[in-house]
Symmetry: none
Subunit: 143 residues, 4 copies
């Protein structure tokens, strides 16, 4: 498998929602981006607030930007805020540096894209992302 198919992207979203439902998370929004940072699939559960597309894709885009899960961005933003601000500036303001943006890799480790989730706590958002990726038979990188 060398790229992210729509079937796989939809499977990730379905499984992420199942995890959210199982542990009673708030309404989730899930964005799946390909390795070039372009949107492949997206769903926003009823009751989610207005800017959830921007937040979800901002986590995934940030992860792809540096090749690390967005938990790494969260830590970096605390340690070197000026780097994070500069990164966001040169991205055109596309990055939300908190947990919940998780890289998607195939079995060989090749980067296929990233999933970004928002709606509950950042830790739970990340948990749902990891569950979704695993359920689709792919590998995840959260930090």
């Amino acid at each position: 498998m060398s790229e992210l198919t729509l079937a796989k992207a939809n499977a990730i979203i379905e499984a992420a929602f199942a995890k959210g439902s199982e542990v009673k998370m708030k309404p989730l929004t899930v964005a799946v981006l390909d390795a070039g940072g372009h949107l492949k699939a997206f769903q926003k559960q009823d009751g989610a607030s207005m800017l959830r597309y921007e937040i979800a894709s901002g986590k995934a885009y940030g992860a792809l930007a540096v090749g690390m899960g967005s938990r790494w961005l969260d830590q970096t933003a605390k340690e070197r805020p000026h780097f994070m601000e500069g990164l966001n500036a040169v991205s055109g303001g596309k990055i939300v540096p908190v947990p919940g943006g998780v890289l998607i890799r195939d079995a060989s480790g090749k980067l296929l894209g990233a999933v970004g989730i928002t709606g509950d706590t950042s830790d739970n958002d990340e948990l749902a992302a990891i569950s979704g990726i695993e359920a689709a038979g792919l590998k995840h990188q959260a930090a």
Copy 2:
């Protein structure tokens, strides 16, 4: 029915893809926006090119901008290009004024959102959008 549920948005996408498949359209990309112009659901078929999210949502956003289907924008762009340019400017550059952006209304005529489709000819994109909206039991406005 007073708002666009995720179930309805997904049903629109599924039926639009079915229409595309039935008449052998090229790979389609479908964006469903709520009445506030915010993304509700999105899917991009395998083989679609890079900027299809921006084009699909640009048709739907333009339709919502003026409360007309994007076929009206296409006609207006030909008759009064300076109006279309001004509209695009004040939108922050979010509009693609060609057919394929169709308003979604409930049985009473209330606006629920818009669907934007790209990938085949503009006429076929619009046909898929109308098919999707009808299959979901909703009303469409293409111009």
Copy 3:
């Protein structure tokens, strides 16, 4: 070969410059983008004017946006200027719709990226791009 290596990108640039030299083109600027629209390699010959990076990458980015060589964009801009303006708007102003942006594919037809060239006539820019891609053992799509 499933992605665009730096070695291949550099080979494209070298061969494009060789073609430019052979037919006595003006100083050329060559941008090679990966399939996600991100810069992989770039060189600007001495004497080229100030904004040549933006023009070269704008041709390549436009080609990737729609999955056609930028000669197709050039024709479309003449036939449907409002579509081209809308596409440029939703791209964030990243597209230069004239010939010289050519898609790069592998032997199986898989999209690897795009090369954009500027400096001489648009026809010559495109000729240099095609020469570069062929010399690297890859397939081109100019329209």
Copy 4:
């Protein structure tokens, strides 16, 4: 020597990669800008993540902005974050204020441009930049 030739810019990149290889750095991305802040040459090694062009050029652009290496920006961002934020704002969001952006001068001290490198630690990025500039027979200013 009064300006940055393409031959010199390419030599800087080649020598920076050689240093990265010698001390086993991660995949590097190198942007060389002329004194006007415009891209002259660029290469991104295989395996580097998505937004590395923006980061590399953001370091070099920031160095040119104030006539100091980007290590000075890093220090300034810690001491006077509001100045760095304002500088980034008026630049149009083009600056990444961390080490790895190094000014290029000729023997007489005349400014020729800047090189920006990203991929490893900021200190190593800067080391590779300095090595590249020295190997090309030019002078560097890192802070």
